[in-house]
Amino acid sequence: MGGKTDIGPPYFKNFMHPMMQKNYGNWKDHEILKPGVLMHIAENGDKLWSVRVGGARLVCTDRIREYCDIAEKYCEGYLRFTSRHNVEFLVFDEKNLNPLLDELKKRNYPVGGTGNSITSIVHTQGWVHCHTPATDASGPVKAVMDDLIEYFTEMKLPGKLRIALACCLNMCGAVHCSDIAILGIHRLPPLVDNEKLPKICEVPTTIASCPTHAIRPDTKTKGVQINNDRCMYCGNCYTMCPALPLADAEGDGISIWVGGKVSNARSGPAFSKLAIPFIPNTPPRWPETVKAVRNIVEKYAEGARKHERVGEWIERIGWERFFAVTGIEFTDKHIDDFRLAQTTFRSTAQFRF
């Protein structure tokens, strides 16, 4: 007999501390006491402390049990995770707060990610577990966060800065609206294996999977032909058809995108835009990518006004200035030629030199 199906997720309130259940919907205000430490105050004066800890996302059960040990010692057995892979230890009695922070320090757990900081990088699986990656995910994330950890543990940026990484254009990590996005890309068209293709792929769905209509049927082999001039290496055909592999050690690498956001604060939500078209994959620590991200973070930190996000800073100074201050080369790759290309061309005589 199989297990009972369709029971759905456990009821969240059963996993909430009674004090949080009591004050559910009755929170009044909050304070960031220091980086990584939040205090929420309920209408009735009850206080709740949350301590935010950066996690690796790819964690083993021993690590989760370690989180549990800590939560049992200081948090009465309650904890939560954030939408960006952080752990939050919930403290219901103030006297547990400093001992918790001491223990986290002893265990080298980074505390931070609140307010005007860089919080954990939302990311995908990469070479660890995905079949279409153009780069690794956990590795570049670890290397970038090792370098930027001061911006996680301190709140010294003008505004919030959200970084995300996706290892291919499928963007399981939906990086398209991040202040800084790290995106794996391919640069070579698929290698067509027409001996295997008709046996393992559906030709019509393979043809339909191409956004630039570069795929045609090949009548001779009952496979397909690819017009390589039209291919922009998105990899969607490979997702549909394993006989069209396009991963390549030299072809694959990383692109960097900037200026996206999801919140409505001040300016509306915005897409990230291309900053750096290609950086080679250089495992194990991707030094060029790390340097490129740090450069953008530092130039933003220097140039932005208080509260401005990366995209708002760039909008104010202009893209021409962004490329000038960051020293990033502007190329034909930056000029759009997809569906909405003309909406990105400058139809005004207003610009900066």
């Binding site: 996690g55 892979h85 079949h131 399981c172 194990p284």
Partner: protein, 407 residues
């Protein structure tokens, strides 16, 4: 760890060992920790080391694997070098639907860990980017017993494939004073109501629902959900004058940092009286002033949400940020109006969508006017940035007296 001169201690994964260095938590350390108890998990690290050497991935396309009665929740994964790494020959993922808001007791977490240690690799994601608990790596024969034990302990699988994907919510009323509706209850309700749609893929492609409690949108629903529900209000921002004064006295530059950055310039601050005034009719509820002065300002009391549609990542037609279809709706359990709308738009999408076409892409192809008509939604200016600037518009036949047929 390696001692010089100790040949036996020569590492199999010299490249990945570099990622054990540095202050950020190391996934390599975690894989090694798991491999101590589960020797086969070491093959995950060995295969990854090969990827770090040759700079390509080594996983094949997923085969169709799953548990009885479900079409989703399990992602098949096989190594392309089982000859070298037999421990990861099958290495399937199970997506487990997280408790809404990602709240846990340690008891529940330990239960999940115990089950996963019994049936899987010991490696997980807490959490995947859609929000599920990701149990990373098990064999085909272990899928069913693992599911059975999860189910017996109150956990169920999440969505995958062309199905409703595991819905997610911000922390909302659980801990946030800005929640304009009960994001947690609503997502829990929707998830339980649509178990069939979650577990049995039957649509053109995936469909995501996310609830953000206020315009800060901490779950990125506008970018990452086909159906984005974002809290808002339609009365006046609540002002506590004493707290405004306190901010002024503490040195906050209210004129510059708050009033000066208001996108609609609907605020006025009098330096002399230290009074802040808001022209609420012109406020677009962006949250900036409330974010900066949260001791003094709060969202209004007539709270609800904006509903937007179509958000997605680039594949296939390009990335989209959701579009407004309902500027304001009151949201109260059992959320029938929203559930009815979901059922209706799923029907329309199912009928008209091509394979792997997201609903935003379908709306783009068929036209927003068609979608609105089918949904019975009246077109209003809040839905657009600006009206069209080209003259290429359609008329419905019933809107124009038709020519008499020529004889």
């Amino acid at each position: 760890m390696r001692k010089e001169g100790d040949l036996m201690a020569k590492s199999e994964t010299p490249l990945l060992d570099e990622l054990e260095k540095g202050p950020w938590p190391s996934f390599v350390a975690d894989i090694k920790m798991a491999a101590k108890r589960k020797p086969t998990t070491m093959d995950l690290l060995r295969q990854l080391e090969m990827s770090y050497r040759d700079k390509v991935g080594h996983w094949k396309h997923g085969g169709i694997v799953g548990v009885r009665g479900y079409g989703s929740g399990v992602i098949g994964r096989y190594s392309d070098r089982p000859d070298l790494f037999p421990g990861v020959e099958h290495f399937h993922t199970m997506r487990v639907n997280m408790p809404t808001g990602w709240f846990y007791t340690t008891k529940a977490l330990r239960t999940v860990c115990d089950i996963w240690d019994k049936y899987g690799s010991g490696m997980t994601n807490f959490h995947g980017s859609t929000g599920d608990i990701i149990l990373l790596g098990t064999t085909t024969p272990n899928l069913q017993p693992c599911f059975d034990e999860l189910s017996a302990n109150g956990f169920d699988l999440g969505g995958s494939g062309s199905a409703l994907r595991t819905p997610s919510a911000c922390i909302g009323p659980g801990r946030c004073e800005w929640a304009c509706y009960d994001t947690l209850d609503m997502i829990n309700d929707i998830t339980h109501t649509f178990q069939m749609e979650l577990h049995r893929p039957m649509w053109p492609y995936k469909f995501k629902v996310k609830c953000g409690g206020c315009p800060n949108d901490c779950v990125a629903s506008i970018a990452r959900a086909d159906f984005s529900i974002i809290g808002t209000w339609r009365d006046n921002i609540q002002i506590n004058d004493d707290a405004v004064t306190k901010y002024a006295e503490s040195g906050l530059d209210i004129a510059g940092e708050v009033v000066g950055m208001c996108p609609t310039r609907c605020m006025n601050y009098d330096e002399k009286t230290k009074k802040l005034k808001i022209d609420n009719g012109n406020c677009t509820r962006c949250m900036h002033c409330i974010n900066v002065m949260h001791h003094a300002l709060a969202p209004g009391k007539d709270r609800g949400a904006t509903i937007l549609i179509g958000g997605k990542a680039p594949i296939l037609e390009g990335a989209m940020i959701s579009w407004v279809i309902i500027p304001f709706i009151k949201l109260q359990s059992p959320y029938q109006e929203v559930k009815d709308l979901l059922a209706k738009l799923w029907d329309w999408w199912d009928e008209n969508g091509k394979m792997r076409e997201r609903i935003g892409e379908l709306i783009n192809r068929m036209g927003m006017r068609v979608f609105l008509k089918e949904m019975g939604l009246k077109p209003i200016p809040q839905m657009v940035r600006a009206p069209r600037s080209n003259p290429y518009y359609f008329w419905w036949p019933e809107e124009v007296p038709q020519r008499k047929e020529a004889k």
